[in-house]
Symmetry: C2
Amino acid sequence: MVSQKKRRDSAGSRRRLLAAAVHEFAARGFDGAKVDRIARRARVNKAMVYYHFRHKADLYRAVLLERFGAIADRVAIVRAEGGAPEDQLRRFVATVAGLIGDWPELPGIWLREMADGGRHVDAEVMAALRRVVDTLAAILDAGTRAGCFAPAQPLVVQMGIVGPLLLVAASAPLRARLASVLSTRHADVAWPAIVDHIERGTLAVLTGPRPEAAAGPARRPRPRSARA
Amino acid sequence: MVSQKKRRDSAGSRRRLLAAAVHEFAARGFDGAKVDRIARRARVNKAMVYYHFRHKADLYRAVLLERFGAIADRVAIVRAEGGAPEDQLRRFVATVAGLIGDWPELPGIWLREMADGGRHVDAEVMAALRRVVDTLAAILDAGTRAGCFAPAQPLVVQMGIVGPLLLVAASAPLRARLASVLSTRHADVAWPAIVDHIERGTLAVLTGPRPEAAAGPARRPRPRSARA
DNA sequence: GTCTATAAATAGATAGAC
DNA sequence: GTCTATCTATTTATAGAC
């Protein structure tokens, strides 16, 4: 993706550093992450960190770019594969959910970067984020043109999808503790249940009955009928 | 709420410290927050931090307890006021949205604490979290008994509500930057729009087409079409 | 309760040998 | 590319005067 700097890193110390960094940054955040721990986890000398990366922030940005770039790539495929807008949207949700399933560090990285106001999001990472939003916008637009979706702001829909997924995934440890204190039995959250919840909720808003004249910029949702 | 330690803190240095701490912890996270900055912001000598609080973590826990306690109190009122379950749920959403509006630091604190796996959530804070979930559970239960809600896991619904709200609020700075790079005009997100989106999405899932047997965790995420 | 001064421990980053 | 040793700045936390 970024630049083919394959300088023959012996056993791939750079790659191992990135993997260790993802873990550390996800678990502790940028400030909480320690270069020392990253190096130790990667089984690499600490000085190597500064051989491969200018500084801590540079390593962190590399992590961001790698992960958000992959997300953008994956959702772009969903859009490219086409299909009915409803289906594309469902696959969009499933894809993001799948990425989180594959990369348990994703929620930590993502949530913290949002909480940080995108402090470390540079132009490259921004471009990746833009691709994700643009992809979702294209799906929504296709649905609107096909008459099956009401017009909606892509970022609103995006947050409605990503927010719950990230929060559920990230809160797993806390929910486990909560379960042991919870009065009733609403203890755990099954991952398929939340994915299903989001899929249905999102589609319902896009295809459902119009809101009167709420505060939103929402338009009149066309009756869901025609196909693409 | 915790203990009436009103020792006449001259001009309320303790209170000012708490306010400054909320800001600092929200903006930078636990590790990124510096005791020095908190003291300076509170216009209080740094040593006073350790006079009022045992250590940094203690101050942070006080912040957590104050805010999550207030959240629990406010949503409990929603439940106590009664009304139709749909209305209670809408007011639940509006209340959380209102709290975020009143306290811009809330998303930062909340998201980071989730990303941290609740590292600093002690028994008292846990109790507050429990109250929030229990309140929502009571609302959902009322709806189910009244026959207007399908059974649902409270935590799933909770994440579906809180996730987008927190993410939208926290990502404001990043979205502002994104707007200037975004190809199309899907730039900004109006706060009322997201609240409306969540209200409708959540209610749609609860009142919409039953996927046979809800409540159960292992639901098949492949409904033919989700029409409302 | 408030302040100054400082201890004590980290942690980011680099120099330079191999 | 890899390692040891180390420099420097920062930061939590405390001692003790007022």
